[in-house]
């Protein structure tokens, strides 16, 4: 696993939180900043549109005044038809914004002039010229500037047009209808017009500077482009043809709203071939002519300051996060540096160096507590180790004494095989494997009375040193008693009497005592509560002795034991054992059992004594399978050779 540090975890979590916090804050900030900029731009834009439109309106409304006044005068018959031209000339001479003016009459108003009568005054260079318009080739009655105010009964600003005579200047005409009373009825009589150049207007519009590359444009009532930075559009295109050419239905909709006199500031729902990128548009109508001005804001420029701020902000935040990480890392490493020292100290303490110097803590915080705990642990460990040393040496002493005791015990029982090389009638082998250093099992054998072989196997209650002492006493008593009496019953009863007296600790011993007459092969035996031995006949038959009804020795001083005898044939064997064999336990608590003993014997019926015992030991080991030995294991095999 990758090794990580505490400061790494803290920095990771703190940074994660900080970044999340930043993102939320930034989004909120961005949203509101954008909204504010949009609102500011809207306000500025509305103001800009208003002032620009006012500038244009000033000229247009002023221009409207002249024909309106003339129309009133004509309706009131203030002016005679002969003075019309001088009148118009003087008007033009004082109003330099006017390019021309016509007073056009309905057919046959003045019979002496025929069908057409339309005095016309116009500027040509610096001079003001005049003529009377109208003939079969110039039927002004059907021209928009005449016909539209006539039919609609309202003044009319014409669609802009290029004046072919006057140097291709973009012009517009304002027409006002006038009326006279004919037969007591207010009757349409003619139209007064003025022509004005739109060059000034184009200039006003093109002077509108928005951000870096925003611009203003002007649409006529029909959506014709009157002013636009792209001069190709002017008079050639309507906003609707541009929309179609570029397949921008949104532009068509915007155009429709514009020419219907609406005003708005909004994100443009179209893309412009002329000005790429996302756009915003503000539009507002010119009240007099019903034209519409549009102002285009490139969005990237509109929000340029915000984007600049964003970059600065992001850089600052990244720098902040980096320094935050550095500071956190410093603080954490300052705070936790004793921990590393503590870890080192703990390692040294674990290695046994209890007096290692603990890191110095100057603060009075958790670290100090840790320090105190550590030094307390050091002290406690030190004391405990001292105690442990003492205990261990005491234990070692006891153990060595026990080992010696075991050696002594083992030396008490015969362990040289074959024990009687001079007696061919008998062959035997025996083992004693203690569960603890000193055990309570015993076996012994010796020759009494010259021709009798006495043997015993027993098990003392309890274990350890007391059992081994009791066993030593039992063995010694058996040996000494059998010097005087030779029957197993007499030996047993004498032994019982001896060990029962002064037996305050109530210890007892199970014992099988047998005396084999080597001459006759008669085996006399007495069993005091011991496991029944197995008789293995030479002819290949194994029989377990009957279970004894006599209690172990050492319990009741006057207990009457019995004696039995059995005739051994040459080649017969006896297998004797203690309960350590039959009750050998494995980890599942299963006992080895007498059946297993019988089975092994049957399988090895002809084995020699040592072979049989080795085989038995092997099977027991296989059964317990490494489980702790709970009791002494003692086995003895005797062969009577006759």
């Amino acid at each position: 696993m990758k090794k990580t540090t505490l400061s790494y975890h803290i920095i990771k979590n703190v940074l994660f939180f900080c970044i999340a916090l930043f993102l939320v804050t930034f989004s909120v900030y961005y949203y509101f900043a954008r909204k504010t900029i949009r609102e500011d731009t809207r306000e500025n834009s509305v103001y800009l549109a208003k002032t620009t439109i006012n500038k244009i309106e000033q000229v247009l409304t002023l221009a409207e005044k002249n024909p309106q006044i003339i129309a009133r005068m004509l309706e009131s018959s203030f002016v005679s038809k002969d003075s019309l031209i001088p009148f118009l000339k003087s008007m033009l001479s004082v109003n330099s914004s006017l390019y021309g003016s016509i007073i056009a009459y309905e057919p046959n108003i003045f019979p002496e002039h025929g069908v057409y009568f339309a005095p016309y005054v116009y500027r040509q260079g610096d001079t003001i010229c005049s003529s009377v318009l109208g003939d079969i080739n110039y039927e002004y009655f059907y021209m928009d500037w005449y016909q539209i105010p006539k039919i609609t009964n309202e003044p009319y600003w014409s669609e802009p047009y290029f004046d072919e005579g006057g140097g291709n200047v973009l012009m517009t005409t304002y027409s006002v209808p006038f009326y006279t009373q004919i037969n007591g009825k207010r009757t349409f009589t003619g139209v007064v017009t003025i022509d004005i150049s739109l060059e000034w207007l184009t200039k006003i519009i093109s002077d509108v500077k928005i951000l870096n590359s925003g611009y203003a444009f002007l649409l006529s009532r029909n959506g014709v482009i009157i002013s636009h930075p792209n001069s190709e559009y002017i008079m050639n295109q309507t906003i609707f043809t541009i929309a179609k050419e570029n397949d921008q239905p949104g532009m068509r909709e915007t155009g429709r709203k514009m020419i219907s006199g609406e005003s708005s500031f909004r994100a443009a729902e179209f893309k412009s071939e002329w000005k790429p990128g996302k756009l915003w548009i503000n539009y507002a109508p010119l009240p007099s002519s019903k034209w519409s001005m549009g102002i285009i804001y490139p969005e990237d420029e509109m929000f340029a300051s915000l984007h600049r701020m964003n970059i600065i902000l992001v850089v600052l935040i990244i720098a902040g996060l980096i320094s935050l990480s550095v500071v956190i890392s410093k603080i954490v490493s300052n705070l936790t540096s004793p921990l590393k020292d503590f870890a080192d100290s703990a390692r040294l303490i674990a290695a046994g160096n209890f007096n290692v110097k603990l890191p110095e803590i100057k603060t009075e915080d958790e670290m100090k507590e840790l320090h105190n705990s550590f030094s307390f642990m050091q002290k406690e460990l030190d004391e405990y180790m001292a105690t442990l040393k003492e205990t261990t040496s005491a234990k070692e002493k006891i153990e060595s004494e026990l080992r010696i005791a075991n050696e002594i015990q083992m030396s008490m029982i015969p362990h040289i095989f074959p024990p009687f090389p001079d007696l061919p009638q008998i062959d035997l082998f025996a083992t004693l494997k203690s569960a603890k250093e000193v055990g309570g099992d015993l076996y012994d054998f010796f020759i009494i009375d010259g021709s009798k072989f006495c043997f015993a196997i027993g098990d003392v209650s309890g274990k350890g040193v007391p059992a081994s002492l009791f066993m030593a006493v039992t063995r010694t008593l058996v040996r000494s008693i059998s010097d005087n009496v030779h029957s197993p019953l007499a030996i047993m009863e004498s032994l019982n009497r001896s060990i029962s007296q002064n037996n305050d600790s109530n210890m007892f011993v199970t014992l099988f005592l047998g005396v084999l007459d080597l001459k006759t092969g008669e085996l006399q035996y007495s069993n005091a509560g011991h496991n029944p031995p197995v008789l293995i006949r030479k002819r290949g038959e194994a029989i377990m002795f009957e279970k004894t009804k006599f209690i172990p020795a050492g319990l009741f001083e006057d207990f009457k034991y019995g004696e039995s005898s059995i005739q051994l044939e040459p080649g017969d064997k006896l297998f004797l054992y203690t309960d350590g064999v039959s009750e050998a336990e494995n980890s599942q608590g299963e006992l080895f059992g007498e059946q297993a003993i019988m089975q092994i014997i049957t399988n090895n019926i002809t084995a020699r004594p040592q072979e049989l015992i080795d085989k038995m030991s092997e099977e027991i080991s296989g059964h317990v399978n490494g489980y702790t030995q709970s009791d002494d294991i003692t086995m003895m095999t005797i062969v009577y050779n006759g």
Binding site: E139, Q147, I151, S158, E159, R221, G223, T238, T241
Partner: protein, 353 residues
């Protein structure tokens, strides 16, 4: 777009030098019946692409104005050939001009009567008593005859050329050409679904329009040149159908040099409609080795009124049907009470068969 202009320029220059080699060429003056626009694309192309030169004729273009109609240019001898509506040509003849039709290009009527849907006029009959704008300078005969025959009394308001009076609701309805004023209205921001459209062709008045005319005397003396002119002109139209973008470039440059507001979208629309009426499409000219470079595929405006509404006519290119002649004669009688006193074969002298 520019590549087309460059191509046209190079070809023009080439043609100019070829022209220097041919010094003796017959001269013809041609006057279309209106200002330069896509309605006459075929003629301009025939000139620009040198089809006239190849045919051995030199063609000069003159344009009429609102006040000087093409017929006047013809009768005054300023023009040898003019383009006229059939009804105008026949009227002129019945009024004494000795003119003949030498080729009938258009086979259908492009005239619509339009009203704003907001006016509530959704049937022809509802025009009773309403003001209808109509061209002052002609083309008014067929709609007038139709309204008269249908006994719908309307007030005709003569208009020179703009749609402004209609836009300002000064009139209730307006006669428009499908290829011109109709699209002008659309290009002034009125949506097609805001208009009610009555194509007069659907009311039994599918009268052919543009045809070529000359004085009978010219027909007699310059027959060969006129025949060459017609052949080269038809070739020009085929080329226009197959190369719309190039055709529009040529038209636009003509318009600009005539100081007329020039609008590509509008001219494209016009060319499409005019070709429909001539029943010339790019598919008609396949196999002539002319690569079809069609106009950019734009979303066509909702063309509720389409060539599909035209009755199929069994007619050869440039042919005038006698039935159309007869119907037109009836119309002239109906509106002017003058009889057409000349016979079909006196009037129609085809040169391309």
């Amino acid at each position: 777009m520019k590549s087309h202009s460059v191509k046209v320029l190079i070809i023009s220059a080439f043609v100019f030098f070829v022209n220097l080699l041919y010094s003796q060429q017959a001269k013809l003056t041609f006057a279309p019946q209106w200002m330069p626009q896509a309605q006459f694309a075929g003629y301009y192309i025939a000139q620009e692409m040198g089809f006239y030169k190849e045919a051995g004729i030199e063609v000069e273009f003159i344009h009429p104005s609102a006040n000087i109609p093409a017929t006047e240019l013809l009768s005054s001898g300023k023009a040898d050939v003019i383009s006229l509506f059939l009804v105008t040509g026949m009227s002129s003849r019945s009024q004494g001009m000795d003119i003949v039709n030498i080729c009938q290009l258009s086979q259908h009527s492009a005239i619509y009567i339009v009203t704003k849907r907001s006016s509530g006029i959704d049937k022809l009959e509802k025009l009773e008593g309403k003001k209808i704008g109509v061209w002052k300078s002609g083309f008014d005969e067929v709609p007038k005859a139709m309204m008269k025959e249908k006994r719908i009394g309307v007030e005709w308001i003569p208009i020179l050329s703009s749609v402004n009076l209609f836009m300002l609701d000064g009139i209730d309805a307006m006669t428009v050409m499908s290829y011109n004023e109709y699209n002008n209205i659309i290009n002034c921001g009125i949506n097609e679904d805001e208009l009610n459209v009555f194509p007069i062709s659907q009311y039994g008045y599918d009268i052919p329009e543009d045809g070529l005319y000359c004085l009978n005397s010219t027909y007699e003396t310059k027959r060969e040149d006129l025949k060459n002119f017609i052949t080269a002109t038809l070739k020009g139209w085929d080329y226009a159908a197959a190369n719309k973008a190039a055709a529009i470039d040529i038209v636009l440059s003509r318009m600009k040099s005539a100081h007329i507001p020039a609008n590509r979208v509008h001219q494209e629309w016009m060319l499409d409609r005019v070709l429909e009426m001539m029943m010339v499409s790019a598919s008609d000219v396949k196999g002539k080795g002319v690569q079809n470079r069609s106009i950019r595929n734009r979303s066509v405006q909702n063309r509720s009124v389409q060539n599909s509404s035209f009755q199929n006519k069994r007619v050869r290119k440039g042919e005038l049907l006698e039935s159309d002649f007869d119907q037109t004669a009836k119309i002239i009688k109906s509106i002017s009470e003058k009889r057409v006193s000349f016979a079909f074969d006196e009037f129609y002298k085809p040169l391309n068969y």
